[in-house]
Symmetry: C2
Subunit: 481 residues, 2 copies
C-alpha cells in the first residue's frame, strides 16, 4: 500500500474521528461540555456586540457592557446596563435577536439532553442491578458505557424537535401580535419586526422590549398582554411539559400514559404559585397609587396576575418595578427564585425542586417512608438533588448580594431583587443594574451565568454520579433543578 | 368497708392519679405539652408585667408591650418595644430576671427531653424491628408503650442536671464580672446585681442589659467582653455539648465514647461559622467610620468576632447595630437564621440542620449512598427532618417579613434583620422593633414564639411520627432542629 493511499484514507477518516472524539467528549461529561459551549457563545457574542457596527453611535461598546449584554442575551435574562432601545444599531439588534433564539433553544436542548442522559443512565443502573450486579462502577470514573451515552445524532433529533416547537409557538404568537401592533398605530414593517421580536422575547423568557417604553404603551391591551403572558408561560413551563401536552392533543386516548409525574407536579406547582403571586400582588398593591391603586378592581387584578406570570421569569413589565412596595418586591424575590419548570427557558431553582422539598416535609409529618404524589413514590435520592440545587442557588444569591451591597451601598430591597433577577434570569429590575458600577456589573454577569448554566448542569452532574438502589415498588422520577 | 374509708383512700389516691394523668398527657404528645407550658408561661408573665407594680411609673403597661416583653423574656429573645432600662420597676426587673432564667432552663430542659424521647423512641423501634415486627404501630396513634415514654421523674432528673449546670456556669461568670464592674466604678450593690443579671442574660442568650447604654461602656474591656462572649457561646452551643464536655473533663480516658457525632458536628459547625462571620464583619466594616473604621486593627478584629458570637444568638451589642453597612446586616441575617446548637438557649434552624443539608449535597456530589461525617453514616430520614425545619423557618421569616414590610413600609434591610432576630431569638435590632406600630409588634411576638417553641417541638414531633427501617451498618443520629 502506497504512502499516498494511506494518507488519503487518513484524510477521509479524519472528520469521522473528530466527530467520534467530539461525541465521546460530550458524552463523558455533558455538564462540562455544556459549560464550555455556553461560555464560548458568551465570548463570541461579547465580541460581536463590542464591534462599532453593533452600536447605534458606531463606536466600540465598553467591554463590561458588551459582556453583560452577551451574558444577558445568551442566558435569556433580559437585564441590561445600557438602554436596549437606543444603544444598539440594526445590526446589533439582529445579533441580540439571534443570540436570544440560540440561547433559548440552546438552554432547552441542553436541559432536555441532560434529562435524557440522566434517565438513560438510571435506566442502565436498573438493568445492571436487576442482572445481579449490586455494586456497579460509577460511570464518570470509568469509560462510558455505550448504552447510556447520548449520541450526537440523538441530540440532533431532539434539537430539531425543540427548534420546530419554538418556531411554531413563536410564529403563532407573532401572528396574533402583528394586527394588534398595527392597531396601536405601528407602520407595517415596524409591526412585523416587533411582532417577531416580541414573540421571541416572550417564548425565550428574555423580556427585552424593542420600544422605548417597553410594554407601557400596551398596559391596557388585554389581548396583547394575554398573548405575551401565555407565550411566556409556555416557555417557562418547560419542554417536557410542552412535549407531553402536544402528544396528548394528538393522542388523547393515551393521556394517562403520556402525562408523567413530572408533568403533573410542574403544572400544579406552577399554577399554584401563579395564583398565590397574583393574589399577593393585588392584596399588597391595590392601594398603591404608583402601581395598581388608581386602576379599577378588574384591571388591577389582571395586572397583578400579569406581574405574577412575568416574575417567573418572563421579565416584561407594564410599569416601573421600583414603584412596587417593598413587600411586593420581597414576594417577587421569592417567585423569581423558584422560577419555572425544568428544561424550560425560565430560571430559578425550578418548581419541581420546591415541590420535592415540600413533599419531603409532608412525608415526614405523616410519618411515611417515601415521598408520594399522584399515587407515585419519589425515590429519596431526588431529595438530595433538590437540597443541593437549593443550597447552590442560596449560596450564589447570598454571596452576590453581600458583594453588590458592599459595592453599591444600595438598599437590600433593590440589591436582593436585581441579584435574584440575575440568578433566576428573570430580567425585572428596580433600576439598580442600569446604574451599577463596573465591579457590580461583573458580579451580576457571573450571577446570571452561574444561575442559568450552573443550575441546569448541576442537577445532571449530581444525578449522573449516583449509585442506585433497587426498589421493589413502582417508582417515578421528576426532573429536579 | 365504710363509705368514709373508701373516700379517704380516694383522696389519698387523687394526687397520684393526677400525677399519672399529667405524666401520660405529657408523654403522649410532648410537643403539644411543651406548646401549652410555654403559652401558659407567656400569659402569666404578660399579666405580671402589665401590673402597675412592674412599671417604674407605677401605671399599667400597654397590653401589646407587656405581651411582647413576656414573649421576649420567656423565649429569651431580648428584643424590646419599651426602654428596658427605664420602663420597669425593681419588681418588674425581678419578674424579667426570673422569667429569663425559667425560659432559659425551660428551653434547655424541653429540648433535651424531646431529644431523649426521640432517641428512646427510635431505640424502641430498633428493638421491635430486630424482634421481627416489621410494621410497628406508630406510637402517637396508639397508647404509649411503657419503655418509650419519658417519665416525669426522669424529666425531673434532667431538669436538676440542667439547673445545676446553669447555676454553675452563671455563678462562674458572675464571679469574674463582679470585680470588673467594680473597676468600672459601680457601687458594691450595683456591681453585684449587674454581675448576676449579666451572667444570666449571657448564658440564657437573652441579651438584655441592665444599664442605660447596654454594653457600650465596656466596649473596650476585653476581659469583660470575652467573659460575656464565652458565657453566651456556652449557652448557644447546647446542653448535649456542655454535658459531653463536662463528662470528658471528668473521664478523659473515655473521650472517644463520650463525644458523639452530634457533639462533633455542632462544635465544628459552630466554630466554622463563628470564624467566617468574624472575618466577613472585619472585611466589610473595617472602613466604616461609624462601626470599626476608627478602631485599630486589633480592636476591630476583636469587635468583629465579638459581633459574630453575638449574632448566634447572644444579642448583646457594643454599638448601634443600625450603623452597620447593609452588607453586614445581610451577613448577620444569615448567621442569626442558622443560630446555635440543638437543645441550646440559642435560636435559629440550628447548626446541625445546616450541616446535614451540606452533608447531603456532599454525598450527592460524591455519588455515595449515605451522608457521612466523622466515619459515621447519617440515616437519610434525618435529611427530611432538616428540610422540614428549614422550610418551617423560611416560611415563618417570609410571611412575617412581607407582613411587617406591608405594615411599616420600612426597608427590607431593617425588616428582614428584626424579623430574623425575632425568629432566631437573637435580640439584635436595627431599631425597627422599638418604634414598630402595634400590629407589627404582634407579628414580631408571634414570630418569636413560633421561632423558639415551634422550631424545638417541630423536629421532635416529626421524628416521633417516623416509621423506621432496619439498617445493616452502624448508624448515628445527630439531633436536628
Ligand atoms: K428573563
Ligand atoms: K437573644
Amino acid at each position: 500500500m502506497s504512502v499516498t493511499a494511506t494518507s488519503a484514507r487518513s484524510a477521509r477518516r479524519a472528520p469521522r474521528r473528530f466527530r467520534e472524539r467530539f461525541s465521546d467528549f460530550a458524552a463523558a461529561s455533558p455538564s462540562r461540555f455544556a459549560l464550555i459551549v455556553f461560555a464560548a457563545l458568551v465570548l463570541l457574542w461579547t465580541g460581536l456586540l463590542a464591534l462599532p457596527a453593533s452600536s447605534a453611535a458606531h463606536t466600540a461598546t465598553d467591554f463590561a457592557d458588551a459582556l453583560f449584554t452577551a451574558v444577558s442575551v445568551v442566558c435569556v435574562t433580559g437585564l441590561s446596563t445600557v438602554d436596549m432601545t437606543t444603544h444598539w444599531s440594526a445590526f446589533g439588534e439582529v445579533v441580540i435577536y439571534v443570540g436570544v433564539q440560540i440561547g433559548g433553544i440552546g438552554v432547552l436542548t441542553l436541559a432536555s439532553t441532560l434529562g435524557l442522559i440522566i434517565s438513560r443512565h438510571l435506566g442502565l443502573r436498573a438493568r445492571l442491578i436487576a442482572a445481579g450486579d449490586t455494586n456497579p462502577l460509577r460511570s464518570h470514573k470509568g469509560p462510558v458505557a455505550e448504552s447510556q451515552a447520548v449520541r450526537l445524532g440523538e441530540v440532533g433529533g431532539l434539537l430539531l424537535t425543540i427548534a420546530i416547537s419554538v418556531v411554531t409557538i413563536e410564529a403563532a404568537a407573532a401572528v396574533i401580535l402583528f394586527p394588534l401592533l398595527l392597531g396601536h398605530g405601528f407602520a407595517l414593517g415596524e409591526a412585523a419586526r416587533d411582532a417577531v421580536y416580541y414573540s421571541a422575547m416572550a417564548f425565550t423568557n428574555t423580556g427585552f422590549s424593542p420600544n422605548n417604553n417597553g410594554l407601557f404603551p400596551f398596559a391596557h391591551d388585554y389581548v396583547f398582554l394575554t398573548t405575551i403572558a401565555v407565550t411566556v408561560m409556555l416557555g417557562a413551563i418547560g419542554f417536557p411539559v410542552i412535549y407531553a401536552l402536544a402528544r396528548v392533543i394528538r393522542h388523547p386516548a393515551q393521556r394517562r400514559r403520556i402525562v408523567s409525574l413530572h408533568v403533573k407536579l410542574t403544572i400544579v406547582g406552577y399554577l399554584v404559585l401563579f395564583v398565590i403571586g397574583g393574589g399577593l400582588y393585588w392584596l399588597l398593591e391595590h392601594r398603591n397609587p404608583e402601581t395598581f391603586g388608581r386602576l379599577g378592581a378588574g384591571d388591577g387584578v389582571f395586572q397583578s396576575f400579569f406581574l405574577s406570570a412575568m416574575a417567573r421569569s418572563g421579565g416584561f413589565s407594564t410599569f416601573d418595578i421600583a414603584h412596587l412596595h417593598n413587600s411586593s418586591l420581597l414576594v417577587t424575590d421569592m417567585l423569581m427564585f423558584i422560577g419555572g419548570g425544568s428544561a424550560s427557558t425560565a430560571g430559578g431553582i425550578k418548581v419541581t425542586t420546591l415541590m420535592v422539598l415540600f413533599l419531603a416535609a409532608v412525608a415526614e409529618a405523616k410519618g411515611v417512608e417515601s415521598m408520594e404524589a399522584f399515587h407515585r413514590r419519589i425515590p429519596g435520592d431526588v431529595l438530595r438533588v433538590a437540597v443541593s440545587v437549593v443550597l447552590w442557588g442560596a449560596t450564589i444569591v447570598a454571596v452576590a448580594s453581600v458583594t453588590v451591597l458592599a459595592i453599591t451601598r444600595d438598599s437590600l430591597d433593590h440589591v436582593l431583587f436585581d441579584v435574584i433577577s440575575a440568578f433566576a434570569t428573570c430580567g425585572l429590575s428596580t433600576g439598580l443594574t442600569m446604574g451599577a458600577p463596573t465591579p457590580a456589573v461583573y458580579v451580576l454577569a457571573i450571577t446570571m451565568f452561574l444561575g442559568r448554566i450552573g443550575s441546569i448542569t448541576l442537577a445532571a452532574a449530581l444525578a449522573q454520579s449516583q449509585q442506585r438502589r433497587l426498589y421493589a415498588h413502582p417508582e417515578e422520577r421528576p426532573i429536579v433543578g
